[in-house]
């Protein structure tokens, strides 16, 4: 993956006016920034709008107030939602990364019967809209809740287990592509040096694939934070809800849009962990996303 500081070739950079060379680039960039930002600015404006309704919100706030935030924290179970979301997303992301790294290692490093069909199967299985199986899953978890209430409805674990079911399909291909770029000589050398296959996995491979671990972890985190359909079925108790379910409840059926300010405040707070994570891992993302695919 190239660093942004490497100098690409600038074709025809020797000729042309300033605009033809650089100017248009700024123009495109500024247009993109404006388009990217205006809905977010709107959310910020709504969050700090003391009236808290949609109709009273404009793009640029006229009066600032933190009322929406304090309302959100006192009148709703926002704290629990936030905690639930972060716990579920963090645990799911780690579990998903670990499970799919294990599988990617097997698919990348070993040749075995069923490898090709296995990979094809993973590709296809994620194309079935899983949430349409929600009825079956609901029935399944009804039984589980009866037998083992700790991993049933309204618990972290039930939802996390369910999300772990989707881990392989979503990540294995991306990861395998990256694993394939690590020369096989390294594993073999380690084996001759005396390493077992687990020592090869943890000592040699994992440290070398951190970019893709970071990327899949981040993608999985974002996906889990945003997951709404399953969580909505699973978490019905107010204090068990995630941010997606809880915030949706705020605006759903709110025809007069009076909760909009609180909702906007919640959106901003929800964005914090994702944005922080996103910018921490940013240097891995560009390379990690494409490295697996680029080798062709």
């Amino acid at each position: 993956m190239a660093d942004t500081t490497t100098t690409p070739v600038v074709l025809g950079s020797a000729q042309g006016s300033w605009f033809a060379r650089v100017g248009w680039r700024h123009l495109v960039a500024i247009a993109a920034v404006l388009f990217s930002l205006f809905p977010i600015v709107f959310v910020v404006s709504a969050a700090f709008n003391p009236l808290g309704t949609l109709s009273s919100t404009s793009l640029v706030p006229t009066r600032l107030s933190t009322e929406n935030f304090s309302n959100l924290l006192t009148r709703t179970e926002f704290r629990s939602w936030f905690l639930n979301s972060v716990v579920i997303a963090v645990v799911s992301a780690f579990a998903a990364v670990f499970l799919s790294a294990l599988a990617a290692y097997a698919f990348s490093r070993y040749r075995f019967k069923g490898r090709r069909p296995g990979l094809m199967f993973l590709l296809l299985v994620q194309m079935f809209p899983q949430f349409l199986a929600i009825v079956t899953i609901y029935i399944m978890f009804t039984t589980i809740t009866e037998l083992y209430p700790r991993i049933g409805f309204n618990t972290y674990w039930g939802l996390i287990l369910l999300y772990m079911g989707g881990a392989l399909g979503a990540n294995t291909w991306l990861m395998k592509g990256f694993f394939d770029t690590i020369p096989k000589d390294l594993d073999e050398s380690a084996k001759v040096d005396g390493a077992t296959h687990t020592q090869v996995f943890f000592g040699v491979i994992l440290p070398l694939v951190t970019p893709i671990l970071a990327v899949t972890g981040l993608l999985s985190f974002i996906q889990t934070i945003n997951e709404f359909l399953m969580a909505n079925v699973f978490l019905t108790a107010q204090d068990a809800k995630t941010l997606a379910v809880g915030l949706f409840g705020l605006v759903q059926g709110d025809r007069a849009n009076t909760n909009f300010g609180m909702f906007a405040a919640g959106t901003l707070l929800t964005a914090i962990p994702t944005v922080v994570l996103f910018y921490t891992l940013q240097r891995y993302i560009v390379g990690g996303l494409t490295a697996g695919a680029v080798k062709g």
Binding site: T7, S100, R115, T196, N257, T267, T290
Partner: protein, 534 residues
């Protein structure tokens, strides 16, 4: 060694002696062995913990599955020869239990009429018909009712604890019937205060489950026990009953009969009336026939498929083209403030998408929305099919283009600069160099992501479900809206207000799956990604 080589005879395939690679249980490394023993011990402990409730409940099939899978896990990790299963098993186990099995079960329902009115087997329908016909009669016995939930939380399965006011004997009533509960602690009013294994609900908790209480009917020999409020229950007698000889339901009061129709899963009277409680029957390809043959639905269905493709393709190529344009513009160190631009442009990708979808929905609000404000228009965005389509594509475009910007930036940077240099030296113009060198290389590396993006957007429920909810709905088609994707349409079929049609929804899901899988497989073939699996 022979003096001169002989041509190799047809190589005989001997079964190779497998080399042991793992430690097995006889491994040499004591630390690793310890780790393994602890790990497998943990598996056993979990298995034992899971087995308890299964045994207590007498669920022998599940218990057998548990034992078999535990043995399988132990076998995979104890044997030292086959390594890949050791790495695949954890992920595959979750995949199988929580994704493959539910999906397969769902697919089997595509060939049934499973849904509201057709949930269970015929016996259940009969019990339901009989017990809902229960009426209070003069000789009805009254019970003191305590509402409880099975298990340690108030969300467990609802049961009635019924105290006979005369004997103060307590019985547990469920949809399966009555069982005695000699361990129950009974208070002075006859209410049960405690019963091991159950959670007694207080008034608040009970009223939260009023609907469950109302629907629960405990079958008895005379009829059934039903609640009247949350503290009283009565045993009434049924007015309708099933007779196996005629395979029909007879109403004692009116003498009317309804005969079972195994094709539709209903009891039907001679005049064609149907009792609402049906049962689940196999309808073969009926659901699929309905999808394509039904004149009204068929017309909208074709339109929906076309719109579905338009939506997915427009989003994929729109985001790709614009993402690439910005990536190209910013792929130049002469641009000052490059990092600053990048950080701001990708911000939508980092925002919670579910929330931003709802924000956008409100921004398209006709009266107070920001879009009309900014454009100075007064358009009813979600009220007009074309405008609504435009709106949902715009929204999804906003959410998706930063991702494409990131991906194409990465791909651009990984294209070796000597290639574009070579093209420049060859005298290619900027556009020609881009079209003949950069773009093809870029497509090679991003094609798999484009295909993934297509299959994601083809099934992007949130993009519709959280914004237009499928609307606007034309007057002649109250179920298929102007912006409905197959997936949102199916969701409404399965969970919408018009009564759940799970079987039909599953059939549509199957069609969706076939479309997406076909398109993806063709796409992957063309980009030769599949050839790389060697």
């Amino acid at each position: 060694m022979p003096d001169r080589p002989t041509t190799p005879a047809t190589p005989e395939r001997r079964k190779p002696v497998l080399q042991r690679e793992g430690w097995g249980i006889t491994g040499t490394n004591p630390l690793a062995l310890l780790a393994k023993i602890i790990g497998l011990g943990l598996v056993l402990a979990i298995a034992v913990a899971l087995a308890g409730p299964l045994l207590a409940d007498g669920r022998w099939v599940l218990f057998g599955v548990l034992v078999a899978s535990t043995l399988l896990v132990l076998a995979v990790y104890v044997q030292p020869y086959r390594i890949p299963p050791k790495y695949l098993l954890p992920g595959l186990a979750f995949l199988l239990v929580f994704q493959v099995v539910p999906v397969l079960l769902t697919i089997t329902t595509a060939f049934t009429n499973f849904g509201d009115g057709h949930r269970g087997p015929k016996e259940d329908a009969i019990v339901s018909i009989e017990s809902s016909s229960v009426q209070r009669t003069a000789d009805s016995i009254d019970y003191v009712l305590t509402v409880a939930a099975k298990g340690p939380t108030p969300d467990g399965k609802l049961v009635f604890l019924l105290t006979d006011p005369a004997t103060r004997q307590v019985q547990i009533g469920t949809a399966d019937g009555l069982t005695p509960a000699p361990d129950a602690q009974v208070g002075t009013t006859g209410k049960v205060t405690e019963l091991p294994g159950y959670t007694v609900l207080d008034i608040g908790q009970a009223s939260a489950r009023a609907k469950d209480i109302e629907n629960l009917s405990v079958p008895t020999a005379r009829g059934a026990i039903r609640a009247s409020g949350v503290s009283r229950a009565y045993e009434g007698s049924k007015t309708r009953s099933y007779a196996p000889q005629c395979d029909c339901i007879t109403d004692k009061a009116t003498g009317q009969t309804w005969t079972a129709d195994p094709k539709t899963g209903y009891f039907v009277s001679s005049t064609g009336d149907r009792l609402p409680q049906g049962w689940r029957v196999n309808v073969g390809l009926g659901n699929f026939q309905r999808l394509f043959a039904d004149p009204v639905l068929g017309k909208h269905f074709t339109g929906m498929i076309i719109w579905n493709f338009v939506f997915a393709l427009a989003v994929v190529f729109g985001t790709f083209a614009v993402g690439l344009l910005i990536a190209l513009a910013l792929n130049n160190p002469l641009v000052r403030g490059l990092k600053f631009y990048r950080v701001l442009i990708v911000l939508p990708y980092a925002m919670p998408s579910f929330a931003m979808l709802l924000v956008w929905r409100d921004m398209f609000n006709q009266d107070f929305g920001l879009v009309n404000q900014l454009l100075g228009t007064d358009l009813n965005w979600f009220g007009d099919a074309t405008l609504a389509k435009l709106a949902v594509i715009t929204i999804q475009f906003w959410l998706g283009y930063p991702y494409m910007f990131l991906v194409t930036t990465g791909a651009l940077q990984s294209i070796p600069s000597d290639l574009t240099e070579a093209a420049a030296v060859d005298g290619a113009s900027r556009w020609l160099a881009f079209r003949t060198v950069t773009l093809p290389l870029l497509l090679v590396s991003t094609a798999p992501l484009l295909i993934a993006s297509f299959s994601f957007n083809f099934n992007n429920y949130n993009a519709i479900g959280l914004t237009t909810e499928g609307g606007p709905f034309p007057p002649d088609s109250p179920t298929a809206g102007g912006t409905d994707l197959l997936i949102s349409y199916t969701y409404r079929l399965a969970f919408g207000a018009g009564g759940a049609q799970y079987g039909f929804a599953a059939a549509v899901s199957l069609v969706i799956f076939l479309i997406v899988a076909t398109v993806s497989v063709i796409g992957f073939r063309r980009t030769a990604v599949l050839e790389e699996i060697n």
